[in-house]
Symmetry: C2
Subunit: 377 residues, 2 copies
């Protein structure tokens, strides 16, 4: 057992989040063949359960070993052909990176880049959609670097009305399982997420687009030509080999998906909204300023907050850690040193008896006081 | 806890192998920030320890989340420029796949394809090296589909003499930690391996080649432009972000690397040779035929064996499993139904008190007998 387990500090950052004991136990599942009946059943069921998380009946989940970033490679290498135009809505650092990924595979990126703490407006999107025929539009649902939440339902509606052939791609890394996402009802073509691995969840339409592409797929590991037969096989409860799946992680995923789908998702979303309100109300009461321009564009799974002058990361983060809570520094390159981030997702929210958020807020208050910040304490 | 833990069958396939209890415990390390001091220290140390496994002082390890297949994408997208020639030595299924990966990224593949159970000869390699200027040669050290072991030392020597600019790339997925690999001494330019994730271990020379490439890197997630600063940062014991690393897997990797490097590697290689001899001697005594043409080209971490007529996979594999041992079916597409594979790597070999191999051989004998196979039983 690693030494960190003996003095565990709560990991209250916008991912990795705190894990349920049963999920961690599944991580140490004894070695099992990736083509054994036991594992095939777990993998197949996980693929099915993923559809429920984003309310899709026809979507084709992909469960592939890799970081969330690999999901971008899947989008860029499978759905965008060289020289096709892609509209990237930029509400923070991850818009920049997704753009770089698309350009690597030959896509031509047009960005609407919002000021830090803001998001592209519907009007801006509408105007730019008139200028070109875009193969796809990408939306960072929650930009983890700013905590800004985009309204994917409204944007999808606009795109479907104005440019119905444009694929609506949602980067849901920091939102799937936290925010409401109705793939089929809202007309989303692809939703990707991650949990140390990339989960891409494209519906039939997207697969059709993929099947109609003319240029060869420009990645090997990320290619749906390689992965689609594997997903179909496991869902049909057959084993098939392209690359060895991360067996233990998929047992853990299965455990987590069963937990998540055991209560109505609507309740889960409400819980996240409620806990987010509790954190953000407290931050405002303390007189601290948040990154998102307004509360209605703030994510429900995380909170990004400016340090109150003259405090810095070097003061606050170690002080909070000394109170056994780990929060995160800034990530947006332009202002990374000026703010911190608190994650409030998963069991820290859905199992309030654990008191994770209370302990986090308490540690934050004590730390601020110890550092001489007194406004509203 | 998953139900498989209660009726665990030994996983004696050529990967995933049986894991040490301490490695599994590390898999359930409580959530830890990927930029925390604790994790940075574990990640940095793991990068250093990897050099020891392949005897390199100057090599640059990359530890990236993904299947072993992603290692091919790293080679093909970072080291090979479009239209450059690559010589692929094919000793089984994995030579075909590596070729497909290189071609995806624009490399021009020439293959020397050995008959099943054989490997390209030094003479064939020497002759083909005279025909073109190859950017790289790839060698599957152990082809997991056939159990054929290639002599990377001899091949590297030949290439360095005859075509010194050609990069020597070793696919060590089924050999690193089992077979002797001396990167610096033998002049290997890149060794890749996997353990539910790709570990690429290129030395300084390869990084130089990478830095001199003219065409842009054609992958995003696999690009060393993105990963090199991260590896340098963690080794210098600083956190840095490109994509979230698989924290728990890296704790497990660290635990395993410390175990492996706690005894001289020479002893480890000898143990694997000895246990491989025990398995192969038994197979021969039973009158069964192995895939590799001769014992001197058979891998030490696995054994591939033809079913004795009239037995098939449908007879033998479930029967062995009913004796609590999981062995693997065939993987080489041309003859997949005709043979089975036993893995003998890691703790099943280095900790003989566990009796994994004895139990496996015993289960195999009992199963063959039950199925009516009597020759030499």
């Amino acid at each position: 057992m690693s030494s960190t387990n003996q003095t565990h500090k709560l990991c209250m950052i916008p991912g990795p989040v705190e894990f349920h004991e049963d999920v961690l136990a599944a991580m140490s599942t004894l070695s099992t063949s990736h083509v054994s009946a036991d594992f095939i059943s777990i993998f197949g069921e996980s693929i099915e359960l993923l559809r429920k998380i984003v309310f899709t009946a026809k979507g084709q989940p992909f469960v592939v070993s890799g970081s969330g970033t690999l999901g971008w490679d899947m989008v860029a290498s499978n759905l965008v052909e060289p020289n096709e135009d892609v509209l990237v809505l930029n509400s923070g650092y991850f818009g920049d990176s997704f753009s770089a990924c698309i350009e690597t595979y030959g896509g031509k990126v047009t960005q609407i880049k919002a000021p830090i703490g803001d998001k592209p407006s519907l009007q801006e999107i509408s105007e730019i959609l008139k200028t070109k025929s875009f193969k796809a539009i990408t939306i960072t649902h929650v930009d983890t670097s700013t905590g800004v939440l985009s309204d994917i339902k409204e944007i999808a509606q606009l795109v479907k009305e104005q440019s119905p052939k444009t694929l609506v791609i949602v980067d849901g890394v920091c939102s799937v399982g936290v925010e409401e996402i109705r793939m089929d009802e809202w007309g989303l073509d692809l939703v990707m997420t991650a949990s140390q691995k990339a989960l891409g969840v494209p519906p039939g339409l997207t697969i059709e687009t993929f099947k109609q592409r003319k240029a060869p797929v420009t990645s090997y590991f990320a290619s749906w030509n390689n992965w689609l037969p594997i997903m179909n096989a496991y869902e049909a409860r057959k084993g098939m080999y392209f690359a060895t799946p991360p067996v233990q992680l998929i047992y853990a995923l299965n455990t987590s998906l069963k937990q998540i789908t055991s209560v109505p998702l609507e309740k889960r979303f409400e819980q996240h909204k409620k806990m987010s309100k509790y954190v953000k109300d407290t931050i405002e009461e303390l007189g601290l300023k948040m990154l998102p321009k307004s509360r209605d564009m703030a994510a429900n799974g995380m909170t990004a907050v400016y340090y109150p002058a003259p405090l810095t990361a070097a003061d606050l983060l170690p002080k909070v850690a000394s109170n056994n809570i780990v929060i995160a520094g800034g990530l947006h390159k332009a202002i990374a040193s000026q703010y911190f981030r608190i994650g409030h997702m998963g069991i820290s929210v859905t199992e309030p008896d654990r008191k994770h958020l209370e302990e986090t807020i308490s540690a934050l208050k004590v730390s601020l006081k110890d550092l001489g910040y007194t406004a509203n304490l």
